[in-house]
Amino acid sequence: MINVYDILETIRMIQDECLDIRTITMGISLLDCIDSDIDRACDKVYDKITRCAKDLVRTGEEIEKDYGIPIINKRLSVTPIAMISAASDSSPVKFALTMERAAKECGVNLIGGYSALVPKGFSAGDERLIRSIPEALASTSCVCSSVNIGSTRTGINMDAVKLMGQIVRESAEATVDDRCFGAAKLVVFCNAVEDNPFMAGAFHGVGEPDCIINVGVSGPGVVRSALAKYPDADINQLADIIKKTAYKITRVGQLVGVRASEKLGVPFGIVDLSLAPTPAVGDSVAYILEEMGLEKCGCAGTTACLAMLNDAVKKGGVMACSRIGGLSGAFIPVSEDAGMIEAARSGSLLIEKLEAMTAVCSVGLDMIVIPGDTPAEVISGIIADEAAIGMVNNKTTAVRVIPAIGCRVGDELDWGGLFGKGPVMPVNTNSPARFINRGGQIPAPLHSLKN
């Protein structure tokens, strides 16, 4: 018989330590929906999404019940809409409205893919889609958008960086009555991945199969509790504990992914080996870092602790599942992590420190509320800095900042639910405008020449 202690451990992880599957995300290719008549294209998009995903939510709920493990989100990602909308001259916002309608019909809580990939320049449809993002995000509730503006192989498209600074601001301005929520659904990537199950940055890459299931795991609470049992252990021991815990967490992700794929008759893609926090107390990545011995997240030593954590999570998870992908690593979104919120409020955690932390973990400056009067050029500067870290270090980086229109440092935006709440954090106000307005392309780094 299975060991009783193992059984009780699993139950404790789920009941008390917030172990859950963060998301089952179905990726759906829309390439066969392209049509020069936008209405016809939208009809095809609606039909395809609702046909592929009609059983997704029900299946997720069945698995939840069978295994007693909560699956927090059931989501969809689709082919970047810029590729689908390029064939028509009309405004792509119609696609966003169609995605919203299809997502509601399927019962999922978010749908990603209102996206454009422009690391080296804009092709037909890209710029039109990017300029429509603020309107699309303001007129829908569950559509998420992302734009890839650079990669290690191509360098950074500075024209797109400049444009995205404006678009992030406009997205916040267009949803000012809804606590600037539009900007919380928009991610700017460098080295975007094609099989990411996490929002807001999920889209279904063109190299992916027609329809696929990807799973994102969670479990910061479990890691923290495991470490709490060893207050005097040295760092090697901590790394081992994290590896073992990550293995167990990831195994559950693998099991759920395989079962979902069998039940839905859709191939299983990847498990995203992530520590994804939620605003729930006890489900925080910052608390893990503090458990390792930091007085407050953001103090000296934070980057080192995070680097060790991120690496150990991958090492533990890598053997637990058949295929790994997505963003895989510890996430550090500020508004979605109780410990990060506290550290930011107390002034211990600053954007500059977060930027350093993004060099050693997944993914980037995430869910950070910045003052409402931050100019578009400064946002572009933040995007360029973060993209440079991703480009040079061969990793995915992203920026999801929310300009809190009408708010200043010390105020707070509260969205509730998984998006959480965040204090407005100070930003360096000296202007990078002359640099941003130059435009052009930052050339790919030397180590992109690998062949």
Partner: protein
């Protein structure tokens, strides 16, 4: 197919009997039981065969968890795969 039923809570008369009754009503065969009482805390783990149960697995889960609520105990009924997957290589 087997499921693991765990019962955790304050000890009382007849817990095992009540859980087993529901299992037998649903035609779930009890394969193994381990239980321990530490101070006042009762912990029981039961492995049951659910291959030929007469109701849906979710109904069995609901009935057991309702029993737990009425006795002031926590009763979880989970497919054994989750434990096998998590705790073995």
């Amino acid at each position: 197919m087997r499921a693991v039923i765990t019962v955790v809570g304050k000890d009382a008369v007849g817990i095992l009997a009540k859980v087993s009754t529901i299992c037998s009503e649903c035609n779930a065969n009890v394969c193994e039981v381990t239980q321990s009482v530490l101070q006042d805390m009762f912990a029981m783990v039961m492995l049951v065969d659910i291959t030929s149960i007469s109701v849906a697995f979710s109904d069995l889960q609901d009935r057991l968890s309702a029993l737990g609520d009425s006795l002031g105990l926590k009763i979880h009924t989970m497919h054994e795969d989750i434990f096998n997957t998590m705790h073995s290589i």
